[in-house]
Amino acid sequence: MRTLLTKIATKIFIAIAVVVLATPAHAKNDDFNSVVKMIEQFYRVKHVGIPFLARAGMKAATTAARIKGGEAKRIAEAGSVKLAVFENQDFAGDFTQFRASLNEALTATWMPLIQTLSSKTDEQTYIFLRSAGEKFNVLVITIEQREATVVQVTLSPKNLALLMKDPEGTGKAITDEATLIDQE
């Protein structure tokens, strides 16, 4: 009887441990989706899939590069791109409040690198980083008056060096690349 109880207690303990240990990993992996949902809830908007024309544009660019005998220079590691696009919707709202909510949600697992806000053009850009073994995950959130993008990519140390040297320029390049380059 005692052995049975011990076995049951052990199984319960293992089950609890699995749930407890799995939860932070799940939360960490799900930050991209959480940010997309946060934008949807705060601005009452809906994201759309990757635009067909953007995929077509990427293929054309890659083909052109191949014809020239070169390869398109990529920032993100192959296959690492997560992208959510919001098109032709209204992003009116208190951006200082949005920024505070975003920082509160992400700063436990991500490091904020640069945040730019422009009240004149209603543009917001946020770049967050976290380590991913020998590489780095980068989350770039761009919100404009009528559109927004959320991009998560993995960067090599070399490309992180570029991002640190020029956060605004490289952050923009990551977003541009993600919206133009197909996921492999």
């Binding site: 640069i114 945040q115 730019t116 422009s118 009240s119 140390p157 640190m164 040297k165 956060p167």
Partner: protein, 191 residues
């Protein structure tokens, strides 16, 4: 009994006081400025830039960056020993959008122990530039740059061993704006 009581109490009390004192000294010597008091200006500013390269990122960078790669080597060299780079910059459409009390929240911290003002330039054309260094004994433990004119307010805080040469190298990189430190240095050298 009294003696035993006094001995029992006195020792932990002394240890506690030492811990509190060392914590206060460490806080006083901490070159990281608290700049959150400026965040309310974002609502009035035409353009706000907030850069935060913290110690975790510095450590990761110095550990993973490869000496063989030119870009990585350059960044690694620049951030070597630094514990953080923090920038807050606000550009306004009209003058009078920030107050003296906003500046004072930063200057109050820069009047703390260890901080010394190295540069103080007042110019109608280029605005005001103040550069402060935090000394920890003979070594520099941090730097702060305060730049403001009628329509702009920028605070740069570098935590760790840094000098004007390094600051000049960091200008235009890591989100550190062009502050004209190099020109200012040349002017000072010529004098």
């Amino acid at each position: 009994m009294k003696s035993l009581f006094q001995t029992n109490i006195r020792q932990p009390l002394i240890v506690l006081l030492l811990i509190i004192t060392s914590a206060l000294v460490a806080k006083a010597q901490d070159s990281r400025l608290q700049m959150g008091s400026l965040d309310h200006l974002a609502a009035k500013a035409n353009q706000t830039v907030d850069v935060s390269v913290d110690e975790r990122l510095m450590r990761m960078a110095s550990k993973l960056f490869n000496e063989q790669d030119a870009d990585e080597r350059e960044v690694k060299k620049l951030v070597a020993g630094l514990k953080g780079i923090y920038v807050k910059s606000f550009e306004f459409d009209t003058s009078g959008q920030y107050s003296d009390s906003d500046l004072e929240t930063i200057r109050t911290q820069l009047r703390g122990p260890g901080w010394t003002r190295l540069v103080n330039v007042t110019s109608k054309k280029d605005g005001n530039l103040e550069v402060y260094l935090l000394f920890n004994g003979d070594s520099v433990a941090g730097m702060a740059v305060l730049h403001n004119d009628e329509k702009e307010l920028t605070v740069v805080n570098i935590v760790g061993p840094v000098n004007l040469d390094k600051l000049a190298q960091l200008e235009g990189q890591f989100g550190v704006p062009e502050l004209g430190i190099e020109q200012q240095k040349k002017k000072n050298d010529e004098k």
